[in-house]
Amino acid sequence: MTTTTVVPKSARAVRRIRRRAAVGRFWASFRRERGGIAGLVILAVFVLLALTAPLLFSADHLKVTEATGAVLAPPTSGFPLGTDESGRSVLALVVWGSRVSLLVGIAATVISMAIGTLVGIGSGHFGGGLGSVLERVTDWFLVIPFLPLAIALATVLGSSLLNVIVVIGVTSWPGTARLVRAQTLSVEARPYLERARVLGGGHWHQMSRHVLPNVMPLVLANTTLTVAIAILSETTLSFLGLGDPFRVSWGSMLDSAFSNGAISAGAWWYLLPPGLCVVAVVLAFTLVGRALENVLDPRER
C-alpha cells in the first residue's frame, strides 16, 4: 500500500467532479448520434425565434386592426410569407406562434411527466391494492381515445392557454407511467432495495433514495418524445377551435387558414409555414428523444 496521504475532499466536491465527468461522457456519446444533433440544431433555432419574437416583430403585427397588408396576398418583399385573411404578416404570425406551441408543449410535458412518474413509481412500488388500482387507472387512460377525451375536457374547462396545457398534460401521461412502472419493477428487484427494507427504510425512503434516481434517465429521454406529442396535440386542439382564441399558435393559424378558404384560394403561403414548422419541431424533438434513448438505454448500446 502506498503511504501517500490523500486529502479527502468534501462530499459535495466529489459529487460535483463526478457529475461533471458523467455529463462529459454523456455528451461524448450523444455527439455520435447524428440525428440527435440535427434535432438539437433545429430546436435551438426555434427556441431562439420564440425568445426573440418581440424583437423581430412588435406585438402590433398580431393586431387585426393594425394590419397593413392586403388580404391573403402572396409573398412580396414587404411580407416574405404573404398575408392572412386580415392582412397580417404570416411570417410574424409564425414566429409569434412558436411561442405558444413551445410553451404548451413543454408545460404540458412537465405535467404529464410529473403525473406519469408518480403513478408509475407508485404502481410499481406498491404491490397489492394500491398498485393495481393505479395500474388500472393507467390502463383506463391508455385505452380512452385521446382526442375525444381532450375535446370533452377542453369544452368543459373552457378555452384558455392554461386549460390547453392542463388538458394535454392530464391526457398524455399513461405511456410514461407504463414505462416508469416497468423500470421501477426492475429496480425494486435489486438487492439494495431489500437491504433498505432490512434497515427499516419506509416507502418514501425506498422510492426517493433508490427508485427515483434510477428511473430519472428514462423519464428524461421520454420527455423529449412527449413534448413532440404535446405540440401536435396543441396544434390539433387549436385547429379544432379549442385553443386560446386570443393567442396565435400554429394550430390556430391552420384553423383560420382552413376556415377562411385559404385552401380553395390556393393561398399556400398561409398553410405551409405553420404546418412545416409543426413538422420540423416535432421531428426535432423526436430525433433528440431517439438519440437520448440510444445513449441512455444500455441495451441499445
Partner: protein, 344 residues
Amino acid sequence: MTVVDEKGSYQGARREDALLRVTEVQKYFPITGGGVLKRKVGDVKAVENISFDIVPGETLGIVGESGCGKSTAGRTVMKLLDPTAGKIEFEGRDITNLSRKEMVPLRREMQMIFQDPYSSLNPRHTVGAIISAPFKVQGVKPARGVQAEVQDLMARVGLNPEHFNRYPNEFSGGQRQRIGIARAIALRPKLIVCDEPVSALDVSIQAQVVNLLEDLQDEFRLAYVFIAHDLSVVRHISDRIAVMYLGRIMEIADAERIYDGPLHPYTHALTSAVPLPDPNAERGRERILLRGDLPSPINPPSGCVFRTRCPKAQDLCAEEIPLLRELAPGHYGACHFPEEKHLI
C-alpha cells in the same frame, strides 16, 4: 429435553435465554393460474415446519443445497417475508404478525448481510451515504456526528476511512462485503442473518471476511444465522448447524457432531463430499454419492422428503414423515433409520 407438541413435531430444546426462537415456521409461495381471478393452483413449499433458537453470541449455521429454502428461511426470520404459519419470537416478544412499521424499531436489533456484494449496494450512492443510511433511516444521531461514526465503522471493518466519498464500483468484492458488514453493524444489532455472505468471494478473501465476522461477534456479542452451502466455511464459524433439505430441517446439532458423527444419511452424504486435506485419509474414506435431483417443492415426496435419493430408504420412509427427535443428547435428526455407527 425434547419438546414434542400434539402434532408430534419437534420444537427444539427450549433455551430460556434464547434471543431468537423460531417455532414451526412455514413459508409457502402460492402459485396462481393465469387470468384475472388469480386462482390458486398450488404452493411452493419453500420452508416447512422449521424450528430453532439462538442465544446471544451464538452462531447457527444453516446448510443445504441450492433451492432447499435456507435463504427463504433467513428472510422469513427477518420478517422480509411473512411466514405462512408458525411463530417467530425475538427476545421473548412475538414478532410473527408485526407490520412493516412495527418492525422498524426492531431493525436496530436484527440486521442482515447479503450474498451479492455487487448488486446489494446502490451504485449511485457513496460509501459514506451507504453506511450512514441506518442512522438516517432509524433517526439515530451518534454523539460524535454521523461522519465520525461512519469512519470509525469503516476502520473497524478494515476499510480506509478516507474512502468514504468513493462509490461502490471503486471497491473489490471483499471490500464491498466489508461495506455491507459495516452497514449491518452500524446500529449495534444483536442478531445478524448472513445470507451466503462469502460465497460470491474468492477463497482467499472468504477467510478474511469470516475472520472479521468472528472478531465482530466477540466484540459485540453478536448472534449469527449463517446461511451457506460451503460446508467448510460453516464448520469454521458455527457453534451449531442445521442441515436443510427441501424446506425441512433434517438434522440439527453442535457443529463438531454434525461433521464427526452425522446421524442423518443426507448429512452423511454432504459431509462425505467435503475434501480432506490429508491424501491418505481422502483415499481411504467412504464417499456417498446422491443420485438424482432435488424433488420439486411444489409436490414433495410423501413421507420422508429425502427418501427418493436416500441410500437407506425403506417402505416406512414413504409412509410416515420422520419427526425431528433427539437421537443423541443435544443431537436432533429427522430419520427413521439414523446412522447407527454414530449413535452413542
